[in-house]
């Protein structure tokens, strides 16, 4: 029982940290740059 509670708490902490990482980068909305030529991949996502 104690193990399960510990695991649960660990997940909550880890989960929050993982999401904080993502949020701080403000990543939503991938931009599309004009490209110089076809193979030159100018489609970028942060």
């Amino acid at each position: 029982m104690k193990k399960i509670v510990m695991a649960f708490l660990l997940i909550v902490v880890l989960g929050l940290a993982a999401q904080a990482n993502t949020a701080s980068a403000n990543n939503s909305g991938a931009d599309q740059l004009p490209r110089v030529f076809k193979t030159f991949s100018y489609t970028i996502q942060d």
């Binding site: 997940i11 939503s28 030159f40 100018y42």
Partner: protein, 431 residues
């Protein structure tokens, strides 16, 4: 006739050893001297060497100032036309013409310029990267004989080749070398503007927004002054992106509006798709999902090139997912997967994993662990830390909601680990 530079370039390009080429014709050391133009071989030897390399001796052009000047003029004009128009079909046409109609010049300098420009055109068309690698290798043997302009072309080809191959570090070091010597290179104004334009895009891709702004302004000044409106429009798109990334959102919208205005005024309707996409992306950042969706849909409608739709379909799916509109997610993810198979282009494989992940996540059965792990593995292979981070979180949450706490915690840990790498943080204390 001195033909060493021609023999060497072709031999290296064909990946043939000196000993193989020389066999039965001359000694390898004699061939080596020929290749360095230290001796002039006899006509017989010249013919035999060229024949073994599949070169037509009838195309040999002795030093003749008038012919050389004429050819150089044609070559440079083709180069300017292809680079400024950025028309792939034109590039293909010019490659065909130059390959069929170019003499083998005894003038080694002109031959180097010819090879460098031809390689640039091949990079534009983008077929057969292995072949291009060989050409770069062949040219690298001659760098000691390049003048400042040829050196610029060589470094630019290298930079574009490595950028295209995803080897960013090497690409950046070549760009940097060009930048360090830019004032010493005899570049015409149009070519300088092209360079500024390209470098600004590279800097944006690397997240160095402020330097990117500096260069795109320089390029914009030139294009504006020369009324190259399609290029002006593209500069405004880039300016919009730099504004968005520095969180100047109204200014970003203003730049996109200017780009749109140019589309309307100069009948550049084919460019609307990319502008709509970026306005959608701006709305997504501002958390206006409904409006973002509206613009992404307009973008897809306006885009004529199928491969350009992939990024917009992906963004659209992300917005639908944020609103938990499951049917729409699945509809567009399936559409995207079909398009991926239709395009049959391996470079788009990341989209396949994105689409598959979202489709699975919103399906009735819920996220397939197999699909999620495949996607995470793929992004690990291409070192896309951001998406490893994202998809590990999604999988961890999936496990958590299904009460598989041990698996959940291991994926949260994995997500954190890659989140740190993505954010260039080593320890949690640094956050």
């Amino acid at each position: 006739m001195k033909i060493g530079h021609l023999i060497r370039a072709e031999r290296v390009r064909q990946d043939m050893k000196q000993i193989v080429l020389a066999k039965g014709i001359c000694t390898p050391s004699y061939l080596s001297k020929i290749e360095r133009n230290q001796i002039e071989p006899s006509e017989d030897i010249t013919e035999m060497l060229m024949e073994r390399l599949g070169m037509d001796p009838g195309k040999l052009q002795e030093n003749d100032e008038e012919t050389e000047l004429e050819f150089e003029k044609m070559l440079m004009e083709s180069y300017r036309l292809v680079i400024t128009s950025r028309d792939m079909e034109l590039a293909k046409e010019k490659i065909d013409f130059l390959e069929k109609n170019s003499p083998w010049f005894e003038n080694d300098s002109l031959h180097y310029t010819y090879l460098l420009i031809l390689l640039r055109f091949r990079l534009i068309v983008g077929k057969d990267f292995n072949e291009m690698e060989k050409e770069i290798e062949a040219l690298s043997h001659s760098v000691g004989e390049f003048d400042a302009y040829q050196m610029y072309l060589f470094k630019m080809n290298n930079a574009l080749y490595y950028y295209n191959s995803g080897i960013q570090k090497k690409a950046t070091s070549f760009f940097q070398e060009i930048m360090d010597n830019l004032e010493k290179i005899p570049l015409s104004d149009w070519e300088k503007a092209e360079f500024h334009y390209t470098i600004s895009i590279i800097y944006i891709a690397e997240g160095q927004i402020f330097i990117a702004i500096e260069y795109i302004r320089k390029a914009l000044d030139f294009f504006m002054g020369n009324l190259m409106m399609k290029r002006v429009l593209e500069c405004y798109i880039i300016i919009g992106i730099t504004r968005k990334r520095t969180e100047q959102f109204p200014e970003a919208l203003e730049a996109y509006s200017k780009a749109m205005q140019i589309c309307e005024e100069f009948n550049l309707h084919s460019e609307k798709g990319i502008i709509y996409h970026n306005i959608g992306s701006l709305n997504s950042t501002l958390r206006n999902s409904e409006q973002a969706i509206e613009y992404f849909l307009k973008s897809i409608e306006s885009k004529s090139e199928n491969d350009e739709m992939m990024i917009t379909i992906f963004c659209l799916i992300v917005e639908y997912s944020k609103l938990n509109m499951k049917k729409n997610v699945i509809h567009w993810a399936e559409g995207g997967i079909n398009l991926y198979h239709k395009l049959n282009d391996e470079s788009l494989i990341s989209y396949f994993h994105h689409f598959n992940f979202y489709k699975s996540l919103h399906s009735e059965g819920g996220l397939s662990v197999e699909i999620a792990e495949l996607a995470i593995q793929h992004f690990k292979e291409i070192q896309d830390f951001r998406h490893i981070n994202k998809y590990c979180i999604a999988l961890a949450e999936w496990y958590y909601n299904n009460r598989k706490y041990k698996l959940s915690s291991s994926y949260y840990r994995e997500a954190n680990r890659y989140g740190y790498i993505y954010n260039k943080v080593e320890k949690w204390e640094d956050l």
